[in-house]
């Protein structure tokens, strides 16, 4: 049977690369999202990050860095913190659109890896003498996931303006894909954990703001 595991460090590395893309001249950037929350790697936190506000584009100094416990993200090498009462500094000349772009790319890659795993695993799971992969319902589900990955990559490669709706589609499409893996998708170690990590990070940095 296929080992239903996704490499645990890949998404985390892409997350930090997404932060870096925002201000390539500044080492160890971490973009601080709404509420002062940020997701990054424990390593970057240990090295002392350069905080940049997503809202104002300014550097942030000082402030209390409070860890926010997240068992699932931690399994994927991702830490969550809240930066409390930082002092705003000079503008970082940050390009925030790139953060969105890179995070959506990282999320899409998680789904692409999950599709690969699902094809391998469902090819081995059998029911009524044939592989589950032979079931049209399963094939249609996988086809939907493949189309989603392809379309999102097309949007990202084509330099289109990526809207929050892209993230919403990845969330819903990712969940539909995971259902094909049955109970295994509810394990932290499996693709379900990686997809949930991407969902949580995306909710902070990519979700739509409603006017309250």
């Amino acid at each position: 049977m296929t080992t239903l595991e996704i490499p645990t460090t890949t998404y985390a590395a892409r997350l930090d690369a997404a932060h870096d893309s925002v201000a390539p001249d500044t080492p160890g950037v971490v973009v601080v999202g709404p509420g002062g929350f940020a997701y990054t790697t424990p390593r970057r936190l240990a090295e002392g990050p350069s905080w940049v506000s997503a809202a104002t584009g300014r550097r942030l100094h000082g402030g209390d860095v409070r860890p926010v416990r997240n068992r699932v993200a931690a399994r994927y090498g991702v830490a969550c913190v809240q930066l409390v009462d930082p002092t705003p500094g000079d503008p970082a000349r940050a390009r925030h659109g790139l953060l969105r772009h890179h995070l959506l790319r990282a999320h899409t890659k998680v789904l692409a890896s999950t599709v690969e795993l699902a094809v391998a695993d469902l090819g081995e799971r059998t029911s009524a003498g044939g592989p589950l992969l032979g079931r049209q319902l399963v094939q249609a589900g996988l086809a939907d996931a493949m189309l989603l990955v392809e379309e999102t990559e097309g949007l990202l490669d084509g330099g289109h303006d990526v809207q929050p709706a892209v993230f919403t589609r990845l969330v819903r499409g990712g969940r539909a894909l995971l259902r094909l893996l049955g109970g295994a998708s509810f394990l932290i170690d499996g693709p379900g954990g990686a997809v949930l990590t991407a969902e949580q990070v995306g909710t902070l940095y990519l979700a739509a703001h409603h006017d309250h």
Binding site: T126, A128, L137, V138, F186, D189, L204, H209, H210, H212
Partner: protein, 385 residues
């Protein structure tokens, strides 16, 4: 037909709304440490959910609400209870001691002696149980399970691995479905006590609903006494896999009800946390609340049919699928309404956002229920069997 509950169930419903409130905090504690359930065994909700699953003749005392007595066994009562208590927290209910699905299997198949041996434990001490059917890759195709029951000098031994088994690693007793011979009629259900030599259980790390404590169970020569084979004096077609089917059919309405209770809880939470809503958002909440209400009516209808001995297989699949998806929709909507920090500033919502995804797989994968719904529709249209 059952939109209006009879008086005694209305009293039960209102009582459950009250006692469900006490489950919120334990629910958060169990999300960190599911074994902490032992601290909450005196909660009325924990006792009530157990009482609902014990046949009246084995119950120590009957759960009462005012003048009304609620003996276990009625699917409609159970549905009312699980719906309202899940509004408090579903994980506490699943972590709590009690007969669980194993009890239904013992009731469906067990001899009188097997039933008293199983159910009498609950009056003596808190007892956790498991129902072990699924194996990795053999969940929906459970009739093809591979765990073997092998004849031995003084009975049988059990060999194989079960996966995703609720409470498996923490229970004192449970029902294991296993194969004595090829084919669906070669399946047996055996009652086992754990821990015991030849049994190893380990908790699996899961995304949410941690109270359910799903486990991997390895049977490596666990001894099984011949009189622990449930319904050993019945014909093969009247035991074994039939018990699995009947058990799941009995429990699906309860799982659907739990999903609806959680969906309601999420919608209530979102309304309380977002005091001002645009008209569109108000409509989105209203639409979902309406769908939950319709599903609740259907759950009660299938429960009434089950109690009347007319189980509605297609209707039950439909409502299980609908209810679980509504719970997931509710969490997605709440996160959308509460914005980018929803999962960080609202720990209960974060937990529930993870919890509800378990319902999809419990008691049958959603897609398999979709296929059952189709078969029902086809039959009603006169086009199928």
């Amino acid at each position: 037909m059952t939109t209006e509950l009879p008086d005694h169930l209305r009293a039960l419903d209102a009582h459950c709304v009250e006692i469900a409130r006490e489950l919120r905090e334990p629910g958060m504690v169990l999300d960190e440490d599911p074994d902490a359930i032992t601290r909450y065994l005196d909660l009325p909700a924990v006792r009530l959910q157990e009482a609902m699953l014990i046949p009246p003749r084995f119950a120590g005392e009957t759960y009462r609400v005012g003048p009304h007595a609620f003996p276990g066994g009625s699917c409609l009562s159970r549905v009312v209870v699980m719906d309202r208590l899940a509004h408090g927290d579903p994980g506490v209910l699943l972590a709590a001691p009690g007969p669980s699905l194993a009890g239904a299997a013992v009731q469906a198949l067990g001899s009188e002696r097997q039933q008293s041996r199983f159910f009498e434990r609950f009056t003596k001490e808190p007892t956790w149980t498991f129902f072990a059917l699924t194996e990795h890759g053999k969940g929906s195709a459970a009739a093809e399970l591979e765990t073997r029951l092998v004849p031995a000098e003084h009975g049988y031994t059990l060999h194989g691995t079960k996966k995703y088994i609720g409470t498996g690693a923490r229970a004192q007793t449970g029902v294991v479905f296993c194969r004595r011979a090829p084919g669906p009629l070669g399946i047996e259900a055996v009652l086992v006590d754990t821990p015991a030599p030849g049994f190893h259980g380990e908790l699996l790390p899961i995304l949410g609903l941690r109270g359910v404590r799903i486990s991997e169970l390895v049977f490596d020569g666990l001894a099984v006494d011949p009189d622990m084979v449930l319904g050993f004096d019945r014909r093969p077609s009247r035991r074994g896999f039939l018990g699995a089917r009947q058990t799941l059919a009995t429990y699906r309405p309860s799982l659907a009800a739990m999903s609806l209770g959680v969906a309601d809880a999420v919608l209530d939470y979102a309304r309380a946390a977002r005091t001002t809503l645009s008209t569109v958002d108000e409509q989105r909440l209203g639409d979902l609340a309406g769908r939950v209400a319709v599903a609740r009516r259907r759950v009660r209808e299938v429960a009434v049919a089950l109690d009347a001995g007319r189980p509605d297989r297609h209707g039950t699949s439909a409502v299980k699928l609908t209810a679980t998806r509504l719970a997931e929709e509710a969490t997605l909507l709440a996160v959308d309404l509460l914005g980018p920090t929803a999962l960080l500033e609202h720990p209960w919502l974060n937990k529930t956002y993870r919890d509800v995804r378990a319902f999809e797989f419990m008691e049958g994968a959603g897609d398999v229920h979709r296929l059952t719904v189709f078969q029902g529709g086809l039959r009603d249209a006169g086009g199928g069997t």
